[in-house]
């Protein structure tokens, strides 16, 4: 398409506008299908982005954290903790190791055991918080040495419970990518079908225009502009509506929400305007194509 065509599409063409009937079922369908598909596309994109954020958080937040759990008779615990600390600090691949204070341990357990628990009477293991370097220590030999030098010490790098979660998050992300792709494709197809059926309903308009001397370009312009703008308006409405619904969902926007809410953040916002424009783009090309096809039916 030429630059002049684009300019006319945006600024409008007083002569061509209005030659195409604005009302009717099929005309409504273009706007409605574009709005509905935009709604679904925005929902799918936001779910996908939320899954990505979730996976990201799980993989970074716990990636370099580990704990050493030390149990045994309470009289020996302090000695075992300092032995373990000493050993850890001497191990390459460990950035820092710090024993949790009694207050911190208590805070960790209170939600599970309730207030007013006689802590000293319980055989509570002591915890050491370990930060690994990016490469990490040689965990197998570290475990062996710990077992030899500090009885009752267990090194836990969280991988056991983290791995299935990461797999789940990765799967969710894949699912979201597939869903977004399908929804966007479906949106394009729906808008195309609606535009084509609307055009078919307008075949007599095309014939009449042709017979009174309208050129192909004029007829094409009239239809393409009408349908593109209608799809764009529908797409905008669907996008805005979807965002409103997502913002209204409980938990959205709360920092500690399970998946930090479904509303887009940062780069995610940039994807939102793409949705109505994809609908408009689909309408533009399908109308162009269908108008050309319809014109070929008449001389």
């Amino acid at each position: 398409m030429t630059r002049a065509e684009i300019t006319r599409l945006v600024t409008g063409d007083r002569e061509a506008d209005g030659v195409v009937p604005a009302t009717g079922f099929s005309a409504l369908m273009v706007g409605f299908s574009s709005a509905a598909m935009a709604f679904l596309a925005v929902a799918a994109i936001c779910l996908g982005l939320a899954a990505a954020r979730l996976a990201d958080r799980w993989s970074t937040e716990f990636a370099h954290a580990a704990t050493v759990r030390i149990s045994g008779p309470s009289a020996e615990l302090d000695a075992r903790v300092s032995a373990a600390l000493e050993l850890l600090e001497a191990t390459p691949g460990i950035v820092s190791a710090r024993a949790l204070t009694e207050g911190e341990q208590r805070a960790l357990l209170t939600p599970w055991l309730g207030e007013g628990i006689p802590f000293d009477a319980l055989p509570v293991p002591r915890l050491i918080e370990v930060i690994e370097s990016a490469a990490g220590p040689d965990r197998d030999s570290l475990r062996q040495r710990l077992a030899g030098e500090v009885p009752g010490a267990i090194y836990d790098d969280h991988s056991r419970w983290r791995r299935p979660l990461l797999r789940a998050a990765g799967g969710m992300q894949m699912l979201a990518v597939v869903a977004v792709t399908l929804v966007v494709l479906l949106m394009a197809v729906m808008v195309m079908l609606a535009a084509r059926s609307s055009l078919a309903a307008n075949q007599s308009v095309i014939l009449t225009l042709r017979l009174i001397g309208a050129g192909d370009a004029f007829i094409m312009r009239a239809f393409v502009r009408r349908f593109t703008l209608r799809a764009l308006a529908g797409g905008l409405a669907g996008t805005v509506l979807a965002l409103i619904v997502l913002f209204a969902l409980p938990g959205a926007g709360r920092e500690d929400a399970f998946i930090t809410g479904l509303t887009p953040t940062g780069w995610g916002w940039l994807m939102m305007p793409l949705v109505p424009f994809t609908a408009a783009f689909a309408a533009f090309w399908s109308t162009r194509w269908a108008t050309r096809y319809a014109l070929r039916q008449v001389l």
Partner: protein, 225 residues
């Protein structure tokens, strides 16, 4: 304007028209008559290039039609005003808008032809009905509006398919006078009709040639009709 040499046409089954050898000279006035289903509308469609002859040659404004591309057809159509048998308006546009449509599709701004529009509407006696939608008009009003739309672009050739079909005798005479007036202004006119009384009435006012379709052939009718 338009001429045929040994031209024929068929929708695919049997031939509708064959061996057409005639030309519409500039400024001439023709009637085309024949029984219903004989091919009058088909012949007009050939003339306004909605159909192409399936055999023989046809020239439109000097150009062989088989050489005209879509742009060429568009240009030729702008020199032809058509009054369709079923009128063919855009039902969502008002009467004025419909009548102005041939100029609008040329990209002419409405201000440049509002006066012509008003003159034309009063010429066909529809100055009061300008804001009506086509479905709200009577058959006769629609046919007069169709004539107005056919001539607003000042075409060289006016093709009218049963332009008086829905009209009483008085209104039919009025349309006929409008067509004769156009012919005096130099336009070439071709009117398809099965109304022999209309043809007789016209022959007293204008020098008109009468063509008759008989079994697929177009013949020139004698003085007796």
């Amino acid at each position: 304007m338009i001429s045929f040499q040994k031209a024929g046409f068929s929708y695919g089954i049997g031939p509708i028209l064959e061996g057409i050898d005639l030309s519409l000279a500039p400024g001439s006035f023709h009637f085309l008559t024949g029984p219903s289903g004989s091919g009058k509308t088909t012949f007009l469609k050939l003339c306004y290039l909605a159909l192409r002859p399936s055999e023989g040659r046809m020239l439109a404004f000097g150009a062989p039609v088989e050489e005209l591309d879509r742009e060429g057809i568009t240009r030729a159509r702008r020199r032809i005003g058509i009054v369709h048998q079923d009128c063919q308006f855009l039902d969502h546009l008002t009467l004025v808008e419909n009548v102005g449509l041939p100029l609008r599709v040329l990209g002419r701004p409405e201000e440049s032809y509002v006066d012509d529009l008003a003159d034309l509407l009063s010429w066909v006696g529809l100055e009061e009905r300008g804001e009506a939608l086509p479905p709200e008009l009577s058959g006769g009003e629609r046919q007069r509006a169709a004539l107005a739309r056919a001539v607003i672009g000042s075409p060289d050739l006016v093709l009218a398919d049963e332009p008086t079909g829905n009209l009483d005798w008085e209104m039919g005479q009025r349309i006929l006078r409008l067509l004769i007036e156009l012919n005096r202004l130099g336009k070439t006119i071709l009117v398809a009709t099965h109304d022999l009384n209309l043809i007789r009435a016209a022959k007293s006012q204008v020098e008109a040639r009468v063509l008759r379709i008989s079994r697929g052939r177009i013949l020139t009718a004698g003085a007796a009709l």
